[in-house]
C-alpha cells in the first residue's frame, strides 16, 4: 500500500457509492417513475372532481405542515424503513421475501410478551430486551420460512405469503388468549408497562424508533458493502453460478438474509408496539408487508437509499389522511399511488437489465 492510498481510496469509495446510485441513471429513472405515478394520481384526483394541486398541497401540509406532523410522518416511516431494509437485503440476494407482514406481526407479539413479562424492570433493561424479543420472534418466523423453502424446495414467495396469513391468525389467537387484556373493548393486550415505552425525542413527537431504524439501515448498508457476508449476498443475487464459483454456500446465504430480514421486521413490529400503540393490538401490522416491498424497490435495494424511500411512503401516507380530511379525496388514492409507483419503478429499473 502506498502512502497516498488512504486518501485516494477515501475519494474512490465516495465515488463508488455515488456511482452505484447513479449507475444506469438509476436515481433519475426512479425519479421519472415517481413523477409518472404522481401524474396518474393527479388524473385520478381530477376524475373525482377535485383539484390535484390542492390535493397534493394537502398531502404536503399533512406530512410536514407542523413540527408535530413531521414527527408523525417519521413515526410512520420507521416500520417501513426497518422492514424495507430487510426486504432489500433479501432481494439483493435474489430471495423474494414477502413475509415482512407476518414477521412484523409476530415480532410485535414477541416484543409485547417480553415487555409485559419485564414489568417492573427499568427502561434501560425493559426496552432493549423487549426489542430483542421482537427481533427474535420475527427472525424465528422468517427462519421457519427459510426452513420450508430450503428443506422442501417450495418457492419462497408462496411460503412467506402463506406464513403471513398464519402469523396474523396466530397474533389474534394470542390476543384472544394469553396476551389479551381482560375486559378490553377490543382484541388488544394490556398497556405496556411505562418503563417499556419508547421515549420521544425532545422537540418532536417522534419516538426513538426512527433513530433505531436509521442506525439499522446504516448497519445493514455496512453489512452489505463492508462485510464478506454482504459481498456474498450481492454476488449470489447477481449470479448464483458466480456465487458457487466463489465458494459461497447458497443455503447459508439464504438463512443469513432471511434471519436478518426477519429480525428487522420483528424489530419494526416491536417498535410499533412499544412506540406507537404501547400495546399489542389486532391488525396493527396490516399492509406493512407490501409497503416493505414497495420501499425496498424504491430504494433500489440499497439499505441507505431505503431511508428516503421509506420517508417518501411515510410522508405520503401521513399526508394522505390530511388530504381526505381537508378535501375529501378518498385515501384509497394512496394505495393507487403506491401500486403505480411500484410498477413504474419496476419498469424503469428493469429496462436496463
Amino acid at each position: 500500500m502506498s502512502d497516498a492510498a488512504p486518501a485516494a481510496d477515501q475519494t474512490a469509495r465516495l465515488q463508488t457509492r455515488r456511482l452505484r446510485l447513479r449507475r444506469d441513471g438509476l436515481g433519475s429513472r426512479i425519479g421519472v417513475a415517481l413523477l409518472l405515478s404522481l401524474l396518474c394520481a393527479a388524473a385520478l384526483i381530477a376524475l373525482a372532481g377535485h383539484n390535484p394541486l390542492e390535493a397534493f398541497l394537502a398531502i404536503v401540509q399533512g406530512a410536514v405542515g407542523s413540527q408535530h406532523q413531521i414527527g408523525a410522518s417519521l413515526n410512520r416511516t420507521t416500520p417501513y424503513l426497518l422492514s424495507g431494509a430487510g426486504v432489500a437485503l433479501c432481494f439483493r440476494a435474489g430471495i423474494i421475501n414477502i413475509g415482512a407482514e407476518g414477521q412484523i406481526a409476530v415480532g410485535g407479539a414477541g416484543a409485547a410478551a417480553a415487555a409485559l413479562a419485564l414489568a417492573g424492570a427499568p427502561s434501560l433493561v425493559a426496552i432493549p430486551l423487549a426489542l430483542v424479543g421482537g427481533a427474535l420472534a420475527g427472525s424465528l418466523w422468517a427462519g421457519l420460512a427459510a426452513a420450508i423453502h430450503l428443506g422442501r424446495g417450495v418457492h419462497e414467495v408462496l411460503v412467506t405469503l402463506l406464513l403471513n396469513f398464519i402469523a396474523l391468525l396466530l397474533v389474534q389467537q394470542l390476543l384472544a388468549g394469553p396476551l389479551g387484556q381482560p375486559g378490553a373493548g377490543f382484541l388488544q393486550s394490556s398497556l405496556m408497562p411505562r418503563s417499556a415505552w419508547l421515549s420521544h425525542l425532545a422537540g418532536f413527537d417522534v419516538h426513538a424508533g426512527i433513530l433505531i431504524a436509521v442506525v439499522a439501515a446504516a448497519a445493514l448498508s455496512f453489512v452489505l458493502w463492508w462485510t464478506r457476508f454482504g459481498f456474498a449476498l450481492r454476488v449470489s443475487g447477481s449470479s448464483r453460478l458466480a456465487a458457487a464459483y466463489a465458494g459461497f454456500s447458497l443455503a447459508r446465504l439464504t438463512w443469513g438474509a432471511m434471519l436478518t430480514a426477519g429480525a428487522l421486521a420483528g424489530l419494526a413490529g416491536g417498535i410499533e408496539v412499544l412506540g406507537m400503540h404501547r400495546r399489542l393490538i389486532e391488525g396493527f401490522s396490516l399492509g406493512f408487508g407490501f409497503k416493505a416491498v414497495t420501499v425496498a424497490l424504491l430504494g433500489a435495494m440499497e439499505p441507505l437509499a431505503v431511508v428516503p424511500a421509506a420517508l417518501f411512503v411515510g410522508l405520503l401516507e401521513s399526508g394522505s389522511l390530511a388530504m381526505q380530511r381537508q378535501i375529501g379525496v378518498p385515501t384509497a388514492l394512496i394505495t393507487v399511488i403506491e401500486g403505480l409507483t411500484m410498477l413504474f419503478v419496476l419498469a424503469a429499473t428493469a429496462a436496463r437489465r
Partner: protein, 496 residues
C-alpha cells in the same frame, strides 16, 4: 447443373473484426457440402447471414433462383432453408409430435394429432429416422433429438439443410446412423451444408469441402482425392507446431495435480497427472466432456468415483472453498455468469474468490482500502484498462474482462491452475498476454491444465497435449512429437 444456393462475396464485420471476408459458397441439389473450420473461423457467422439472423455488410445470396435479401429466419424457412443447430431448438418437456407441430402451419390450428403422428411415422420410416411420435424429447438420446430436428425440416419441405456440428455430441453408432440419413436426403435431392471439424466424417459424407480460416476461404476442393492431412493443414495452418513464445523444455518435478480413475456423468474414466512446472494442454472439439472435467476438478459438480489430489491432499469431495485453500485456481469458460459478476466493479471481481483473505478481507469484514490498492496494483500489472477499481466489470471489453479473471486466479500463486478457454474471444495481443502469464506461472512451479478448442493455442504453450473426445482422452502426446494429422484424427474421435 444450376445451383440451389449461391452465396457471393459475403462480408460481415463485427467492429474491427472481419468475421466473413468475401466468402463464396454454393450448393447444388443432391449435394452435400462440407464447411470446415476451427472455432471462430467464421462458419457460424456465415450461416447466420444465410439464415437471415444477421444482415451481411456486402454480398448476395440467391436460393433456387430467387434473391434473398433482408430476410428473416421465418422467410428463410419459408423459402426452404432449414437450420439444425448444434444446440437443438427443441422443447424437452414435449413429445416428438408436439415439437414437430410447433409453429407449423400444416399441423392445423386445431392440431391434427393423428394425421401428424402418421406422417411422422411415415417420414421416419422413409428416411430411417426411427422416431416414435409420442416419445418425450427429454427421454431421447442426443442423436434421436437431432433426428427430430431433421424430421422437422423434412416435413416442412426444406430443400437445403444446414447441419451445424451435427456429430459433435453423438456417439459413434449414432454418427453412422446420421450419415445414413444424410445419404437418404441426398438421394431425395436435398442440398446439405455439413459444418464440422471432423475430417473423417467430412471425407466420408461430403461431395465437396470449403475450408474457412480467420474469416476467409482457405481451401475449396472436391473430396475425391482429398486427404485428411491436406484438409487438416488447410484448416489449422501450416505453422501449427511452431511455438510463439520461446519455450524452455521444462524439467518436470513431482506431480501436483493427480487424477485417478475419475468418473463422473459425461466423462469416461480418466487418469492423469500434471507435474510441477508443466502445462498439460487439452485440445478437442467442444462438448466432448471438457466442461464436465474442469467443473468436477473445480468442485462445481459432484464427483462420481475415483480420486483427485492436489500436492498429495485428497480433494475429491472437498468444497470449492477448501480447494481454493489447497491452491487450486480455475478460469471458467463461462465468463458472463460464472467467472465474473458483470454488475459489480473491477475491484469486487478481483476479490470474488478471495474475499476472506488479506488484502481483501479480514475475518468477517472486507478491507476496502487495501483491497482497492491491491486492485490498482493488479490493474497495472495485468494491464486491465478501466478508469478505476470501481468501474463496472460488465462495461469493459471482453479482453479486459478476461484479464480480471486471469489476474485474480494467477495472483493467488496457485499450485494448480485450470484454465478453460482462457483466451477465448481475445484479440491476438491479449491472447499473447494471457499465454505469457501462464508460462510465467509455469516457471514459478505451478501445474497447469489448459483446456481449449483452439488447437493453435494449446500447441503454443503445452508441454504435453491430450485430445479429448467422447468424455475421455483419445490420446496424449508430448510437445515435441505432435503430428497435426494425428491430432485431427484424434479430434474426430478415433482413438490412437
Amino acid at each position: 447443373m444450376s445451383m440451389m444456393l449461391d452465396m457471393r462475396g459475403i462480408v460481415r464485420r463485427f467492429g474491427h473484426v472481419v468475421a466473413n471476408d468475401a466468402i463464396d459458397l454454393d450448393v447444388a441439389a443432391g449435394e452435400i457440402v462440407g464447411l470446415l473450420g476451427e472455432n471462430g473461423s467464421g462458419k457460424s457467422t456465415l450461416m447466420k447471414v444465410l439464415f437471415g439472423m444477421l444482415p451481411p455488410d456486402a454480398g448476395t445470396i440467391s436460393f433456387r433462383g430467387q434473391p434473398l435479401t433482408g430476410h428473416t429466419p421465418a422467410a428463410a424457412m419459408a423459402a426452404g432453408i432449414a437450420m439444425i443447430h448444434q444446440h437443438f431448438m427443441l422443447v424437452d418437456a414435449m413429445t416428438v409430435a408436439e415439437n414437430v407441430m410447433l409453429g407449423w402451419r400444416d399441423a392445423g390450428r386445431l392440431l391434427r394429432r393423428k394425421e401428424m403422428a402418421d406422417r411422422i411415422r411415415d417420414v421416419s420410416r422413409r428416411f430411417g429416422l426411427d422416431l416414435d411420435p409420442d416419445a418425450r424429447v427429454a427421454a431421447l438420446s442426443l442423436g434421436r433429438r437431432q433426428r427430430v430436428e431433421i424430421l422437422k425440416a423434412i416435413l416442412r419441405n426444406a430443400e437445403l439443410l444446414v447441419l451445424d456440428e451435427p456429430t459433435s455430441n453423438l456417439a459413434s453408432a449414432e454418427v453412422a446412423e446420421l450419415l445414413t440419413v444424410l445419404r437418404r436426403l441426398r438421394q431425395e435431392g436435398k442440398g446439405i451444408i455439413f459444418i464440422s471439424h471432423k475430417l473423417p466424417e467430412v471425407l466420408e459424407i461430403c461431395d465437396k469441402v470449403v475450408v474457412l480460416r480467420a474469416g476467409r476461404v482457405t481451401g475449396r476442393t472436391s473430396v475425391a482425392g482429398a486427404s485428411q492431412g491436406m484438409l487438416a493443414e488447410m484448416m489449422i495452418g501450416r505453422d501449427v507446431t511452431a511455438p510463439r513464445p520461446p519455450m524452455v523444455a521444462s524439467s518436470p518435478g513431482p506431480a501436483r495435480l493427480s487424477v485417478k480413475d475419475f468418473l463422473a456423468p459425461g466423462l469416461a474414466r480418466l487418469s492423469f497427472e500434471i507435474r510441477r512446472g508443466e502445462i498439460f494442454g487439452v485440445a478437442g472439439v467442444d462438448g466432448n466432456g471438457q466442461i464436465e472435467l474442469v467443473e468436477a476438478l473445480a468442485g462445481l459438480r459432484p464427483a462420481g468415483s475415483g480420486a483427485i489430489t492436489i500436492d498429495g491432499h485428497d480433494v475429491t469431495r472437498a468444497s470449492v472453498a477448501a480447494r481454493l485453500t489447497r491452491g487450486l485456481a480455475y478460469m471458467p469458460a463461462d465468463r458472463g455468469t460464472t467467472a465474473l459478476v458483470k454488475t459489480m466493479s473491477v475491484a469486487e471481481n478481483l476479490m470474488l474468490r478471495d474475499s476472506g483473505r488479506p488484502p481483501y478481507g479480514h475475518g468477517l469484514l472486507l478491507t476496502r482500502g487495501p483491497a482497492n490498492a491491491k486492485a490498482r496494483a493488479l490493474m497495472a500489472d495485468y494491464d486491465i484498462r478501466a478508469r478505476d477499481p470501481s468501474f463496472i466489470a460488465g462495461r469493459l471489453s471482453g479482453g479486459n474482462q478476461q484479464k480480471i479473471v486471469v489476474a485474480r486466479e494467477l495472483d493467488r500463486r496457485p499450485a494448480v491452475l485450470i484454465a478453460h478457454q482462457a483466451a477465448w474471444g481475445l484479440d491476438p495481443g491479449a491472447t499473447h498476454f494471457v499465454l505469457d502469464r501462464m508460462l510465467a506461472l509455469r516457471e514459478a512451479g505451478a501445474a497447469i491444465l489448459y483446456v481449449s478448442s483452439e488447437l493453435e493455442e494449446v500447441l503454443a504453450i503445452s508441454d504435453r497435449i491430450a485430445v479429448m473426445a467422447r468424455g475421455g482422452f483419445a490420446g496424449i502426446v508430448p510437445r515435441g512429437e505432435v503430428d497435426p494429422r494425428q491430432l485431427g484424427i484424434w479430434m474426430a474421435g478415433r482413438a490412437a
